[in-house]
Symmetry: C2
């Protein structure tokens, strides 16, 4: 029992995840999610009481995916510096999506900052995860200001994303990614 239901629940989350990224949270309607999944609108309320709850589930899903991605970075190398370089690769790896829709986490946070405060707090959880992980890598490398460096790295990546998306400039992503890798090396190589 419940297997079919949980399958549908996940399909709703996956479709919403994609639509929230490509069109934005406020611009995504239940009809859009219904069209993408084939599941009728009214059925959503069996799984989620409100649209906010779908957002919450989407952010949880993203956090799970990010955790998997960060674990892969950790399993690929024991060197925290190399882990940070792998993490920064995401920028160029997701280049096409970034140019079209920006950063899934950054753009959601920016959008929800203009709505109710509670909604932005939900979206912030994903940033907290990344910030803590990056901080931990700098910490392992013996750097005192690990949290500041974590904020700096995330800010660099967000800034590149915003400008590259605004100007649809893939070359800027490539060039900036290289500069970010140089910065990571400069900070962590002694």
């Amino acid at each position: 029992m419940g297997t079919k239901g949980e399958g549908n629940r996940q399909r709703i989350i996956d479709a919403a995840d994609n639509l929230f990224y490509r069109r934005g949270y406020n611009q995504t309607s239940f009809q859009d999610i219904s069209d993408a999944t084939g599941i009728p609108r009214g059925n959503f309320y069996y799984y989620f009481k409100t649209k906010d709850e779908i957002l919450d589930a989407v952010v949880c899903s993203r956090i799970t995916e990010l955790t998997v991605m960060l674990n892969q970075c950790e399993s690929e190398t024991d060197d925290a510096r190399e882990r940070l370089l792998l993490f920064s690769n995401m920028l160029e790896y997701k280049s096409d999506d970034v140019l079209q829709s920006g950063c899934p986490i950054g753009s959601l946070s920016t959008e929800l900052a203009k709505d109710d405060t509670e909604l932005q707090e939900i979206s912030r959880q994903a940033f907290v995860l990344l910030r803590d992980w990056v901080k931990q890598q700098f910490k392992v490398l013996g750097l005192e200001n690990a949290d500041d460096l974590a904020m700096d790295l995330l800010a660099k990546m967000q800034g590149v994303t915003v400008m590259a998306c605004a100007f649809k400039d893939a070359d800027f992503i490539r060039r900036s990614h290289q500069e970010i890798k140089d910065w990571i090396n400069a900070k962590t190589l002694n």
Copy 2:
């Protein structure tokens, strides 16, 4: 003739400008603008045929304001390096607004990237103005890669804005602003 009308037109633009920034373009309704101005909804269509036209007028208005601000930077000093430093001050000067709603230009561009392509092109005009002006300052200082440096500076400011807004962190703005000023000096002082 027309004087009262143009006054109302500007009041609509100013209210829309503020609301587009604080709530976002898509989340701002004609009713919101009506409430803010006291001008009835239906009246808007005398001045603008569509909501898109209001957006266009708002972006034009912002470009005018930015031009004034950039002219002030130019009139304050003949040194392009100092002009860039003055420009970067905007980040800290508008700190409260940035924490609450992000960057008016960056957040609008990010939002409209998820709508129709034409809308984002409208919002991009403001970024083009800033990019060209910053580029010109670097150029005057004899730097070869002036356009790259302009993109780098804008990306830095956008990144700081996104992260500071996400974490509501005024200290991060202050610290990052100092680092940006150091970067400008490092690039332009020989």
